[in-house]
Amino acid sequence: MVLFTGLNSATMNKILLIEDDEIMPKVVARILQPPDYQLDHVSNGKEAFEKLEATGYDYALIITDIMMPYANGFEILSKVKSHDREKPIPVIIVSNAGNEDMIMEAFKLGADDFLKKPIIPAELIIRVKRLLMNK
């Protein structure tokens, strides 16, 4: 029983951060630390797809920017949401472009949350926790 929950929580809190800015990953890495969270960071759309394929979409949560090289956040979002899984991975969008159109588009594609930069770190933690709890 103990072993089981231990294993489960380890996979549960694997988080993938997709972000091409160099500051944000450092911030997120600091606030979502082990042992509660295991954070993987990739810096563009291509690496994101490669990472997702390589791990078999084994993430509890994805945090992604929108405007990035190779593929933008929307594309990643749509791919993640259409991926064949029992329950799609929750996705939080964190972007510095936050006009109405983009927010609408994100939610239309099934985003679970939209945060505009600059973010309040405490808020991000709460939103992450909430999404992980829903799971």
Binding site: P118, I119, I120
Partner: protein
């Protein structure tokens, strides 16, 4: 006049003296062009070398700096802490191991703190500001402010805006009358963001146009500054003689959904400037002012194209439902494609009220008009 010429140049000198003017000029220019070319090479190499040095120095500094900032600002944050983030005494010990006595390092630190502030706000954001102040980085900026070069002043103002550091009105106000346009604009932005009394005062006095770019910056500053008192923008819509201020206020009225400003905006429907009139109609439509539809329909026929389009859009946005027939009329009988399309869009937008008319149109319209209707009804097409 006798000039001492080195021996090896003797033949060239003799040639020069005996040559016609054109050749003499050519010879002079040969020397000049050679010198300039060499200077250009020196400049290129110097530029590269400096870039290389800068990259090397920053490559060493930035990772250290990032770690320190993250630890100092994000590690100890507790939203329930008693002390205000502005009053916290940060542990600066570790920062002094950085070469902060050098100007470039201080500048890099400032830039990095600003970069961080573009990513985080809230408590850590304010701690970043505290860090900036306690490292006394603002002193460099105050110095920069006093520079005689306009671009340095603008940079200083931008930095103060980013870091939210108050400046005295007496420092900013003279700059709002600067001969340099960029400086004038930056001073205005700083005034709105940082002035403690009446941030919107300059709307009253500004005489030169607010360019689109200025408006983007101003809009951002006004809508993201947290403790700014938003006035009723109707004041400037009515009284300002600067049309770009009026136009900008219309956008702010829409953003803040300022219904009390509606009477002032209505007044603008009589303005002679058709661009401004179109913007006013657009504003009324976005505010969804219900009792304006009659007036818009009444004035429609005497308007230029851009105003007519805006009227059709506004009726679609307001969606009162009394003027669906008017939309249908325009859709069927207008000769202009854009008018037909705008009318169709507005009909489709009010599908719930207009479904009968819409169905009727779908059944009877000619192929061209049917295509427009289908275009507007297709959820895949946004515009």
């Amino acid at each position: 006049m006798y000039i001492q010429v080195p021996e090896f140049l003797e033949p060239a000198w003799n040639l020069f003296q005996g040559a016609p003017l054109a050749i003499q000029l050519a010879m002079i220019f040969i020397v000049i062009t050679t010198v300039i070319t060499l200077l250009a090479y020196v400049s290129i190499l110097r530029n590269r070398f400096r870039g290389y040095q800068r990259a090397k120095r920053l490559g060493k500094l930035l990772p250290l700096l990032d770690n320190l900032i993250v630890e100092e600002v994000l590690a100890n944050q507790d939203p329930l802490a008693q002390t205000q983030p502005d009053a916290v005494q940060l542990n600066l010990e570790s920062f002094y191991q950085l070469p902060l006595h050098k100007k470039w390092a201080r500048q890099a630190t400032t830039d990095r703190i600003i970069h961080f502030r573009r990513n985080v706000r809230g408590n850590p954001g304010r701690l970043l500001r505290t860090l900036y102040l306690q490292l006394e980085l603002d002193k460099d900026n105050v110095k920069q402010m006093k520079s005689s070069k306009w671009e340095r002043k603008v940079r200083a103002l931008t930095e103060f805006i980013e870091m939210d550091i108050p400046i005295a009105d007496v420092t900013i106000l003279p700059l709002t009358n600067s001969h340099n346009r960029e400086l004038r604009a930056a001073a205005r932005h700083a005034y709105i963001k940082l002035s403690k009394n009446e941030p919107f005062k300059f709307f009253d006095v500004v005489t030169d146009p607010l360019l689109m770019w200025d408006q983007v910056e101003l809009f951002r500053i006004i809508t993201t500054t947290e403790d700014i008192a938003i006035p009723n923008f109707a004041r400037w819509v009515t009284y300002s003689s600067n049309r770009s201020v009026v136009s900008f206020c219309l956008k702010l009225i829409v953003h803040y959904n300022q219904l009390p400003a509606v009477p002032a905006v209505k007044q603008l429907l009589d303005t002679k400037d058709h661009y401004l009139r179109a913007e006013a109609i657009n504003c009324l439509g976005k505010l969804r002012v219900p009792d304006i539809e009659d007036k818009l329909v009444y004035m429609y026929s005497s308007q230029p194209l851009q105003c007519q389009i805006e009227i059709l859009k506004a009726i679609g946005r307001i969606g009162g439902g009394q003027h669906i027939d008017f939309l249908k009329q325009e859709f069927l009988h207008s000769t202009n494609f854009d008018l037909r399309k705008s009318a169709a869009k507005s009909i489709v937008k009010n599908e719930s009220i207009a479904n009968k008319i819409l169905q009727e149109l779908l059944d009877t319209a000619d192929p061209g008009r049917l295509l427009i209707l289908k275009h507007c009804m297709n959820p895949l097409i946004k515009y």
